[in-house]
């Protein structure tokens, strides 16, 4: 029974640990993407300095906008040429009759509001088009939210299962020692005094259960971080650095293990201390 409850904690914490590692990394990715979200506001081709000033004034007045930056059509062309490298030279011909629009690059105050802000900007005068990679942004937000909710539900379910198993294990020890507890109460032991050893037992079960998961998480993350880091080349996916992340995660797993053990013991002892 002791083995099985330690096993339950081990399984729970393994899953919780892996899940937390994935979730926190996903969160980091999402945050990076969120920070990079910008709205490109293309002005009417015919817009002159006066219209540009009007748009700028309007942007200034909108409360949800964090920062904005003006980028003239010449600058736009230059950055397009630069981004295309050698092939871009072909576009240098356009310098004489630039087909691009003057633009503003806007960052919303809250990344979550991107869609709304973009919609508002679109309504302004002299604005031709608004681009912000809506699909990608929306998808990442939705995915992240789902992952977070499902993960939380999973973790809570697992934690409760483990608490239940630990509390059952301790209940068995208590039943075995019920006579002793009865005599303790008879001679005037306080509940704290009686509870203490079971509290320690729960704590030890929880901590024992977290040894394997911590070892697995730290070594697994070490492997992942140092070996796969170089093979994953997407620059928007960046694993959280091994140090301190793996250690923080290990601490968190240990804390959850201790919590499960203590909570399980408190739950099972409570019933036996009445009278």
């Amino acid at each position: 029974m002791t083995v099985s409850s330690v096993g339950a904690v081990t399984t729970t914490l393994l899953l919780v640990g892996v899940f937390l590692a994935v979730m926190l990394n996903l969160n980091e990715v999402a945050e990076n993407v969120e920070e990079d979200v910008e709205i490109k506001v293309l002005l009417d081709v015919s817009a002159g300095q006066e219209e540009i000033d009007t748009v700028e004034q309007n942007l200034e007045d909108m409360p949800d906008i964090g920062t904005y930056e003006y980028s003239s059509k010449e600058e736009e062309l230059k950055s397009l040429v630069d981004s295309l490298g050698d092939q871009g030279q072909a576009f240098e011909l356009f310098e004489q009759s630039n087909p691009l629009n003057d633009a503003f690059v806007v960052k919303p105050e809250e990344p979550e509001d991107t869609a709304q802000v973009a919609e508002d900007i679109k309504q302004l005068d002299h604005v031709d088009k608004v681009n912000y990679g809506e699909e990608l942004v929306e998808r990442i937000f939705t995915f992240n939210e789902y992952a977070r909710n499902i993960g939380l539900a999973l973790i809570i379910g697992l934690v409760f299962t483990a608490i239940f198993l630990i509390s059952n294990t301790i209940k068995i020890t208590i039943i075995a020692r019920q006579k002793e507890i009865g005599i303790m109460k008879l001679v005037g032991a306080t509940n704290m005094f009686i509870r203490w050893p079971f509290f320690v037992e729960g704590l030890i079960l929880g901590i024992l259960g977290s040894i394997i998961p911590i070892a697995a998480i730290v070594s697994g993350y070490y492997y992942l971080y140092y070996n796969l880091r170089d093979r994953i080349q997407f620059d928007f996916i960046q694993l959280l650095p091994f140090n301190p992340f793996a250690w923080q995660l290990a601490g968190l797993v240990l804390a959850i293990g201790a919590f499960i053990g203590v909570w399980g013991s408190v739950m099972s002892v409570r019933k036996f201390l009445k009278v």
Binding site: E180, K185, L186, V187, G188, A189, T190, V275
Partner: protein, 228 residues
């Protein structure tokens, strides 16, 4: 001092165990509680150390009103009351010494005091030479003496004995009674529930008879009064 006023006890299943009990016991008295099985003796005893709460009325034990005593104060009450049962209730894996010391360990007495007190009471119950024995290696009377030693080791003002001679042969029963009398002579109140007619009629003390949850007789130097 023990005082019960208008004490009623009805269990959740509807059984009425005590039906308006009024008694007053002074410090240092020796009292037998007698009565047929199921008359309410056990409930009476349980109320004394707050294993049960009265449904109505007040119970004062050593200046504490048990009817309103807070839960966390219960351990303190129990340290002032020693309890002895028919079935001894010793821990089988602990030696005689450890069983008695247990009562002081749970109240976190210092090791030095524990040793002194335990040897003292083992001497009182004449078991000093068996301190290292396990309960299974002792006779019934010796086991009961260990239980008595444990009950008095923290010098309670009241000792409650629930049929302490119930499992013992007559000769051993007298031994136990002599020890209880000695304890009583040192000023400890003794409350003893018993069915032992011979003891009650020979060692004459105050007798309180309970029937159907009421006190039907309360006599100084009374007799057992029931035909078996």
């Amino acid at each position: 001092m023990i005082e019960m006023k208008e004490v009623y006890k009805t269990y959740p299943n509807g059984v009425t165990a005590l039906n308006g009990i009024d008694i007053h016991i002074d410090q240092g008295e020796f009292v037998y509680i007698v009565g047929p099985s199921g008359a309410g003796k056990s409930t009476f005893i349980k109320l004394m150390f707050r294993e049960e709460r009265p449904s109505k009325g007040s119970i004062i034990v050593n200046d504490r009103d048990l009817a309103v005593l807070k839960k966390r104060k219960v351990p303190h009450l129990r340290r002032e009351i020693g309890v002895v049962y028919q079935d001894f209730r010793l821990l089988p894996k602990l030696t005689v010494y450890e069983n008695v010391a247990f009562a002081l360990e749970v109240i976190e007495e210092t090791p030095k005091n524990i040793k002194r007190r335990v040897m003292d009471v083992l001497d009182q119950v004449r078991l000093k030479n068996k301190a290292r024995f396990l309960p299974d290696e002792l006779s019934g009377g010796e086991q009961q003496r260990v239980a008595i030693a444990r009950a008095i080791v923290n010098m309670p003002q009241v000792v409650i004995a629930d049929e302490p001679t119930g499992n013992l042969d007559p000769e051993t029963s007298w031994e136990i009674m002599h020890i209880l009398e000695e304890i009583n002579q040192r000023g400890t109140t003794i409350l003893m529930a018993t069915h032992n007619r011979e003891i009650v009629n020979t060692i004459r003390k105050r007798v309180i008879a309970i029937e159907d949850g009421s006190v039907v007789r309360d006599e100084h130097r009374g007799d057992y009064g029931y035909e078996i």
